[in-house]
């Protein structure tokens, strides 16, 4: 086939991009080469619309061993231990085939982590669906949950936390973001940088089939009505093979055979070989006839672009081939020497004795396009004034029940009970809390991780929303007693070619950068997913933040369930009564306008760090951050989990009861303390200038508000737990 401009456009390249390819090669590419360029230059691999802005994120810190640019980020957790972690999206494949899409998403992120030598120790996920009433939602939810469980459970890695939301903006484009944490010794981390000449290039894992050819290009195109036609052969996940691949790789990594290793994810053999060559400033020569294939008559084009799962590319030390082959044979996996490193700085591919591609590596990487897309700055919406008559008829208990039943607040037990969250025997905080916590096997340390996003805030004002998500992650880690260390981000947005969507991206990233810089909570890895839209309707901007923190002694971990009757409950952080964009405003007042709550980074940092001090002094019995639904929702969840009640007295503020209980002001936590510790706690809070209110006292089994309204915990618990189960069983 002779390549021309039209074929290039069909591959998703722009006309000027095709012209640039011809210019760089000084000739017309053949079809295999065009396929390679289209895979490397698409949004998913080249970050061409986002690179410019991502550069502004803070990525360094005392605890950062590896920032963005590798398979995953790495942080130091002392004693020669390190945590490798990353988040990745698998949105488009999950919409087409929810089970396999979600499963392969989980498989892909685990590979990113064990490629670096780390054994995965925890999975998390952030999943977003259309309105519960939308006809596709239920099946998509069921498929995605089964897919995540199917893969993670089989791998034997606990799924310890997650987030699920529903919003009509995801009706035609769901989001599936998966995150994995792995544990590695600091001196045994593996990278993707090839080094040395004439080193064997090894292919291991599953065979190559025609799976997902051009999946990476699909991730960069928006859905339209013709999506059916774009369906490539869907990738099917094989967690069993991945489990074998994990064990085989870790076994090989225990020795000193590997120079570089890279998993074959998006754009398969193409991106993995090019990345290794580019980082090592080398060339790679591959004989495609040596690649283990599942189907007959696969062409070079198909072999290079296949996205078959559970495969790795390794550059070995000379003479280690037999040793490595023995290990992969033992685990019943394919092993083939398919090429070698060269000094040419080119990717050279041979098939049936013929050279079928010859491309300088730098044209694919350094010379890939980078765009400064046009974007529109968002205005801060005007504040709404709540009318007294709108709220005076409201009954607090009914309102609270409505909020606890809301799909975005209700208990997600139906989901996380389907994930094995206890395998590996180190899960000390299960899903349903502020963060999941796993012990560092065989030590007193524990690692906490949470995953958060606030699409509504980001949609109302991207800059504030971006800051808020980072702060929420920070708070969730602190609530379990962990010192926040670093984050990974999964940036889910609409089309970068739409000025408003691009503006949302730019300003959310700016907000994330500002908050992570201030909180010393750097970004060490991440992923951008654009074109999340149906026709020209983009999703609400949904940056998901995965935060990781360290608990030095796991016995000091905090949980959110109320512990003891007669203990005092405090709120730290000031309540101003911000109702705009709160759950209360949206579902009770049906008000969608207004600004999100303001983020005060000084208070966030100060309140959080002071709470860590209280925890260090063993003064805290339980803690929970205040988020969706305000103080009363947070307190209700602590009651439900601890099967205790509370007697609440609203402090003598100027704002009214409703605003006090349902406002979503930031930087706040609910704390349970022993009465006898009150003086000590108050002293520390006062000394650090942290505002706090005395909210009430823990009681037997009722929530009693200002001596007038009350409700039993059983009733609240039923409201909170029944929605999802009922929805899924209908």
């Amino acid at each position: 086939m002779i390549v021309n401009e039209q074929i290039a456009v069909d591959h998703g390249l722009k006309k000027d991009e095709y012209a640039k390819i011809c210019e760089l090669l000084k000739r017309t590419p053949n079809i295999t080469e065009l396929g390679i360029f289209s895979a490397m230059w698409n949004e998913h691999c080249s970050y061409k619309s986002s690179r410019l802005h991502l550069k502004k994120l803070p990525t360094k810190g005392k605890k950062v061993i590896q920032g963005p640019g590798e398979n995953a980020g790495v942080i130091d957790i002392d004693d020669n231990d390190a945590i490798v972690f990353k988040i990745e999206s698998h949105n488009h494949p999950s919409f087409i085939e929810p089970y396999q899409g979600a499963a392969t998403g989980v498989g892909g992120i685990m590979r990113d982590v064990f490629t670096m030598g780390a054994r995965p120790i925890a999975n998390l996920n952030s999943i977003h669906f259309g309105s519960p009433q939308h006809k596709k939602t239920k099946n998509l939810l069921r498929g995605v949950v089964h897919g995540i469980g199917g893969y993670g459970n089989c791998m034997g890695v606990p799924t310890i936390a997650g987030q699920t939301s529903f919003d009509s903006s995801y009706n035609g484009n769901i989001l599936v973001n998966a995150m994995t944490l792995g544990l590695v010794k600091k001196d045994k981390i593996f990278y993707s940088k090839a080094a040395g000449l004439n080193k064997p290039v090894i292919y291991v894992g599953s065979k190559t089939g025609r799976d997902g050819i051009h999946g990476a290009s699909m991730a960069s195109a928006s859905f339209d009505e013709k999506i059916e036609e774009k369906k490539p052969t869907v990738q099917v996940g094989d967690p069993f093979t991945e489990k074998l691949l994990l064990e085989a790789c870790l076994e090989l990594m225990a020795g000193d055979s590997i120079i570089a290793i890279q998993d074959m994810g998006a754009a398969g053999l193409t991106s993995s070989s090019i990345e290794m060559a580019s980082k090592g400033n080398l060339g790679i020569e591959i004989n495609l006839n040596k690649v283990p294939c599942r189907e007959t008559k696969m062409t070079p084009y198909e072999i290079m672009l296949s996205e078959s799962q559970e495969r790795m590319l390794i550059v070995l030390e000379n003479g280690k081939e037999d040793h490595a082959k023995k290990i992969f044979d033992k685990w019943n996996l394919d092993f083939a020497v398919i090429g070698k490193t060269t000094k040419s700085k080119k990717i050279e591919l041979y098939f049936d004795e013929e050279r079928v591609a010859d491309i300088p590596v730098n044209t694919l990487v350094e010379n890939s396009p980078m765009y400064n897309r046009k974007w529109k700055k968002a205005k801060l919406p005007k504040k709404n004034k709540i009318k007294k008559e709108d709220i005076k008829h409201l009954k607090i208990i009914d309102t609270l029940k409505k909020i606890l039943t809301n799909p975005n607040v209700c208990s997600k037990e139906w989901i996380w009970q389907q994930y094995d969250h206890t395998v590996m025997g180190d899960t000390i905080q299960k899903p349903g809390g502020d963060a999941g916590v796993v012990r560092v096997h065989g030590t007193d340390k524990a690692v906490a991780a949470s995953i958060d996003s606030s699409a509504v805030y980001c949609w109302a004002h991207p800059l504030t929303g971006g800051k808020q998500v980072v702060c929420e992650s920070f708070r969730n880690l602190i609530s379990v007693g962990a010192k926040p260390i670093a984050i990974t981000n999964c940036l889910n947005f609409g089309s970068p070619e739409n000025e408003e969507n691009m503006g949302e991206f730019v300003e959310c990233v700016e907000g994330i950068g500002e908050a992570s810089d201030y909180l010393k909570f750097p970004v060490v890895s991440g992923n951008v997913s654009f074109y999340n839209q149906t026709k020209d309707q983009g999703i609400k901007p949904t940056p998901a933040i995965g935060g990781v923190g360290l608990i030095k002694d796991y016995k000091n971990m905090i949980t959110m369930d109320f512990k003891k009757v007669d203990n005092l409950v405090l709120v730290i952080g000031k309540t101003e009564g911000h109702i705009d964009q709160s759950l209360f405003a949206r579902i009770i007042l049906d008000e969608k306008n207004g600004p999100p709550p303001e983020v005060n980074l000084f208070n966030e940092k100060n309140n959080g760090e002071t709470l860590l001090k209280l925890i260090d002094n063993k003064l805290i019995q339980s803690a929970h951050d205040v988020s969706l639904g305000g103080i009363i929702t947070a307190v209700a969840k602590m009651c439900i989990k601890g099967k205790k009640g509370i007697n609440i007295k609203k402090p003598k503020y100027l704002i009214n009861e409703i605003e006090y209980l349902f406002a979503e002001d930031q930087g706040r936590y609910i704390l349970e303390i022993n009465k006898k510790d009150y003086r000590k706690v108050a002293d520390i809070l006062n000394k650090n200038a942290v505002h706090f209110d005395e909210l009430g006292t823990i009681s037997e089994n009722e929530v009693y508000i200002n001596d007038k309204t009350k409700v039993t915990i059983d009733e609240l618990s039923t409201s909170n737990k029944s929605w999802l189960t009922n929805y899924m069983s209908k």
């Binding site: 089989c154 791998m155 069993f240």
Partner: protein
């Protein structure tokens, strides 16, 4: 006391089991499925996980592994063999214990704490356990125990039911049955009571920081009974 934990391709609770066995005093060896010989053992454990990806039928392919010949001989000569979760599924496929394990009644994987009532203490696994009810943890997709009427009669006549799902007070009722198992069966013995298969994972309950501590009780008692 010496124990052996068999690792099949896809086993993923093998390490957890070893940690538990060692914690309570066993000298444990990990044994690869392709080996022919079992090391000298007082207890052989088939751990949980997804041997061969649970493909075809859970446990079916692992039951054909090389090491299983030795395990079967060991069991038939009175050796203690315990299969947990996927290990139970493997035992069923070998025929060492009767019945089959079907897909959970509600078609979903379940990971949660459950209570089980000890039905028979006249054996080395549960002899001297003071409690009647233990809090254990399950994590499975195919734990729905089924057997024919004739088999059930034989099982009951021989007192082969080891544990039943129940509530915290030991009440065995349908509403405490998480997966649809016949008679709430959570674990079962062979006729001689030296082979035990059960769905719950005692190895995940060996520490107050985890799901609970009744697993500690089980293992402590087990090693004492073997001495």
């Amino acid at each position: 006391m010496k124990s052996s934990v068999i690792t099949f391709p896809g086993s993923n609770c093998d390490r957890d089991m070893e940690v538990a066995l060692k914690k309570f005093g066993f000298k444990n060896k990990m044994v690869w499925h392709a080996d022919a010989e079992l090391p000298k053992s007082d207890l052989v454990v088939l751990p949980g996980g997804f041997s061969y990806g649970d493909y075809l039928r859970c446990g079916s392919m692992a039951s054909k592994s090389k090491i299983m010949n030795s395990v079967i001989n060991f069991a038939n000569s009175g050796g203690m063999v315990m299969g947990i979760c996927n290990g139970f599924q493997i035992l069923v496929e070998t025929g060492l214990v009767p019945g089959v394990l079907l897909r959970n009644k509600y078609l979903e994987f379940i990971c949660k704490n459950v209570f089980v009532k000890i039905n028979n203490k006249q054996n080395k696994y549960f002899k001297n356990v003071n409690n009647e009810v233990l809090e254990f943890h399950i994590a499975h997709n195919e734990g729905n125990y089924f057997c024919t009427k004739d088999q059930l009669k034989e099982i009951e006549d021989n007192n082969q039911i080891a544990i039943n799902y129940c509530d915290e007070n030991g009440k065995v009722e349908d509403k405490f049955n998480p997966n649809g198992s016949i008679k709430n069966i959570a674990g079962i013995f062979n006729k001689e009571k030296n082979v035990l298969g059960m769905m719950p994972h005692p190895e995940r309950m060996i520490d107050t920081s985890l799901s609970g501590e009744d697993g500690s009780l089980f293992f402590k008692n087990l090693i004492n009974n073997l001495k």
